[in-house]
């Protein structure tokens, strides 16, 4: 099977390791991965901040970049939700991309039909289900089922898991105090689990939480789900 990787702008510029991990994981599962270089950003930050007109060119660019691919895999619930839920309001061509875009865990569980991807990650991990994946895509138990099948991994339940971490795109800078208060509560809950790794499937949330963790120098690191799933006994991740 051949798929296009929609790496997302945040991963391209700030978290390329998540893109590398996604490629390594998919190739290990026998999937041929393409990276159409014309892709940039899905337009969600512009759209959600109220700049619909400025979003249009990015929607058209994204649609063109993935023309001809039956499956587009994106390691971000938020960007997948943007394409599936908001692209239809930009016309029929944009709407047609929606069903072809799969958030990474959807692709693994629904399209490939796997939950045990042969990963090995001997750490105590807690999982934060980001809001757009949780509520807009309805990812449900997919991420947990994938994590539970990872050899050596101890998954601990995150209290208040379904509460927003406070990132919210431009919300983080437009309402910095409330955003930080939400992030601090999320971190308190994550620390209470005793986990060493706070895992998520959206790096934008982890950018916010990771930035707070580094500032506070807490003994917890953030890691994208793809990087845990990419890790094997032969080739451990970090």
């Amino acid at each position: 099977m051949r798929v296009a990787l929609f790496v997302t702008c945040v991963n391209d510029a700030v978290f390329p390791s998540t893109g590398v991990a996604t490629v390594r994981l998919l190739e290990r599962l026998g999937v041929e991965v393409d990276f159409p270089a014309a892709q940039t950003c899905c337009g969600q930050p512009q759209f959600n901040t109220g700049y619909r007109e400025e979003t249009g060119p990015l929607v058209r660019r994204t649609v063109r970049a993935f023309e001809g691919y039956e499956h587009v895999v994106v390691p971000s619930g938020s960007c997948a939700a943007m394409v599936r839920h908001h692209y239809p309001s930009f016309g029929a061509e944009a709407a047609a991309l929606g069903p072809r875009v799969h958030e990474l865990t959807e692709f693994l569980v629904d399209v490939l039909g796997v939950t045990d991807v042969g990963a090995y990650f001997p750490h105590k991990v807690t999982y934060h289900p980001s809001c757009h994946g949780l509520r807009m895509l309805g990812l449900g138990e997919r991420p947990r089922r994938l994590l539970e099948a990872v050899k050596g991994l101890e998954l601990v339940e995150l209290p208040g898991a379904e509460e927003c971490c406070g990132f919210g795109g431009t919300f983080a800078v437009k309402n910095p105090d409330v955003s930080a208060a939400m992030g601090a509560d999320k971190i308190t809950n994550a620390l209470s689990t005793g986990a060493g790794v706070l895992c998520g499937a959206d790096n934008s949330c982890l950018l916010h939480l990771g930035g707070m963790l580094r500032r506070r120098q807490d003994p917890l690191r953030t890691l994208h789900l793809a990087e845990i799933l990419a890790s094997t006994e032969e080739e451990p991740w970090r």
């Binding site: 270089a37 509520r135 309402n175 105090d177 208060a181 990771g210």
Partner: protein, 492 residues
């Protein structure tokens, strides 16, 4: 300014304006929230209260296996009714009139206040008792009556706490949610005496003693009052019947004891038939108080001989509702049945508190309702559509399926278009970013420069946006190269 001062100054301003613009001069949402976030007592009160109600609601809703169908039915009934609102309102007017009531139409807050004040004055009374009502708070009725020499007494327990404390409500269902028992005891002990019967000596903060103090204080008002003022949760067009849903029974006292009853109700509260009402009498209690059935549901149709008020007036209030109705995306906010489930699950409301929203409608529903009813010209109103991380928890629990995140984004478009404070600069920045993102080669060049200079990047940055980010969080350490370069080197 401390949170209490913010509240107090907004209140003073409200008293001066007295025409429903009760929150003129409120600071923007982020500014007001800044104080609330730092108030640890407030945060603890709100966290405890919202989490308790949210968990109870989840259990009450989970009991019904047809919840999804009820939610869909509620949404459709409201949408259908709003589509033919004029027809249903005229039918309602006919029903009320036939049953001996009088219907008044008020285009805005000033007109509604004038009508009510004239009606009270015509009775010769200078005191009224009030049923908890959002609509009368929206128009600033109490302040208007006070300026006309008429004392309005709130009789809902929480509204009484708010009124005695010279405070503002901070929640739709639990207006004094920001107060704990100790604070309520102090307010009762200090203030009851100057409004009527004083609190008993040595009042403690146990719920039973506080409730008894309120009961004695209010009983005096109920027995003396000749005029009652209410809102309504629903109006049934086919018979001209009004419905008030409450938990204490104090509302029923106000609705039945006075000689004259005046109800101020938003025009979107009409439902066509009793069959339609049935749906909401299932979804409203479970969504708001997490009860299976509402404790005190009062219904009345005009006036009746030998029972209840001798005169009944219904003031139908527009006050921005037809403007909201004209907006194809925004109009869904008019489905709201004021259950407050969205407030109780909102992570922003939980941290910022209700006062930061600068309106009697706080929380997610307030963030989409207030800017539609009042417009987006003031600083607070223009900031409300951004008071959300778009996490979607509100939409998930809404019993009439209002897609609050969708309306928030829609209203952000409106604010950005109007280009108010800060938005012109933001638009320029967004345009520039979109241009770069539409030119992958320029983007890649920028990414390479950022990565190449990463060793000298500071952890904090000045300037709009960057400072708000780095006040609370470190900036990320950038990678040695962007993903697209890794791909080019390793896979092509």
């Amino acid at each position: 300014m401390s949170d209490k001062k913010v509240r107090a100054s907004a209140l003073d301003e409200g008293r001066r304006s007295g025409d429903g613009r009760a929150f003129v001069g409120m600071p923007s949402f982020p500014e007001a929230a800044h104080e609330a976030v730092g108030d640890t007592t407030l945060r603890a009160n709100l966290r405890h209260a919202t989490h308790t109600i949210r968990d109870k609601r989840a259990r009450a809703v989970a009991e019904l296996d047809d919840w999804a169908a009820l939610r869909e039915a509620g949404k459709r009934i409201k949408d259908e009714t709003l589509r033919h609102l004029d027809t249903h309102l005229l039918r309602l007017e006919a029903g009320v009139t036939d049953a001996g009531g009088t219907v008044h139409w008020a285009a805005d807050a000033a007109e509604a206040n004038r009508i009510v004040a004239d009606l009270v004055r015509a009775t010769g009374e200078t005191e009224v008792v009030k049923v908890k009502s959002m609509a009368t708070q929206e128009i600033g009725l109490n302040e208007h009556l006070e300026a006309e020499g008429i004392a309005a007494y709130e009789t809902d327990l929480a509204e009484l706490i708010v009124q005695l404390g010279e405070d503002r409500p901070s929640h739709i269902l639990v207006p004094a949610i920001h107060r704990n028992r100790g604070e309520i005891r102090d307010i009762f002990a200090e203030k009851m005496g100057s409004w009527g019967r004083a609190a008993p000596e040595g009042l403690s903060d146990t719920p039973a003693e506080l409730a008894e103090a309120a009961r004695l204080h209010l009983r005096e008002k109920f027995l003396r009052a000749k005029v009652g003022i209410s809102g309504a949760n629903f109006m049934v067009a086919e018979t001209g019947t009004l419905v008030v849903v409450e938990s204490e029974g104090n509302g029923r006292m106000c609705l039945t004891l006075p000689e004259t009853l005046i109800s101020v109700v938003g025009i979107e509260k009409v439902v066509p038939t009793w069959r339609d009402l049935e749906v909401f009498l299932q979804t409203l209690p479970r969504s708001s108080t997490a009860e299976r059935m509402n404790p005190y549901t009062s219904m009345w149709t005009g006036t009746a001989d030998e029972d209840g008020p001798r005169a009944f007036h219904l003031v139908l209030l527009d006050n921005g509702r037809t403007d909201a109705l004209a907006d194809e995306v925004g109009r869904q906010a008019l489905r709201c049945i004021r259950c407050s489930a969205c407030l109780n699950v909102c992570p922003v409301y939980e941290r910022a508190g209700g006062h930061a929203y600068g309106s009697v409608y706080p929380g997610p529903i307030g963030a989409i309702l207030t800017p539609q009813l009042r417009g987006t010209t003031s600083e607070i109103d223009a900031s409300l559509p951004y008071a959300s991380s778009l996490c979607g928890a509100c939409y998930e629990v809404c019993p009439v399926a209002i897609d609050i995140p969708e309306v928030l984004v829609h209203l952000r478009e409106r604010v950005a278009e109007e280009g108010g404070k800060g938005h012109r600069l933001e638009k320029a920045a967004i345009k520039a970013a979109s241009w770069v993102l539409d030119h992958p080669n320029v983007l890649a060049a920028g990414e390479r420069v950022a990565s190449a200079t990463r060793k000298v990047h500071p952890k904090r940055l000045p300037g709009p946006g960057a400072r708000q980010w780095s006040d609370h969080r470190d900036l990320p350490e950038l990678p040695a190269e962007p993903f697209r370069d890794w791909w080019r080197k390793n896979r092509t």
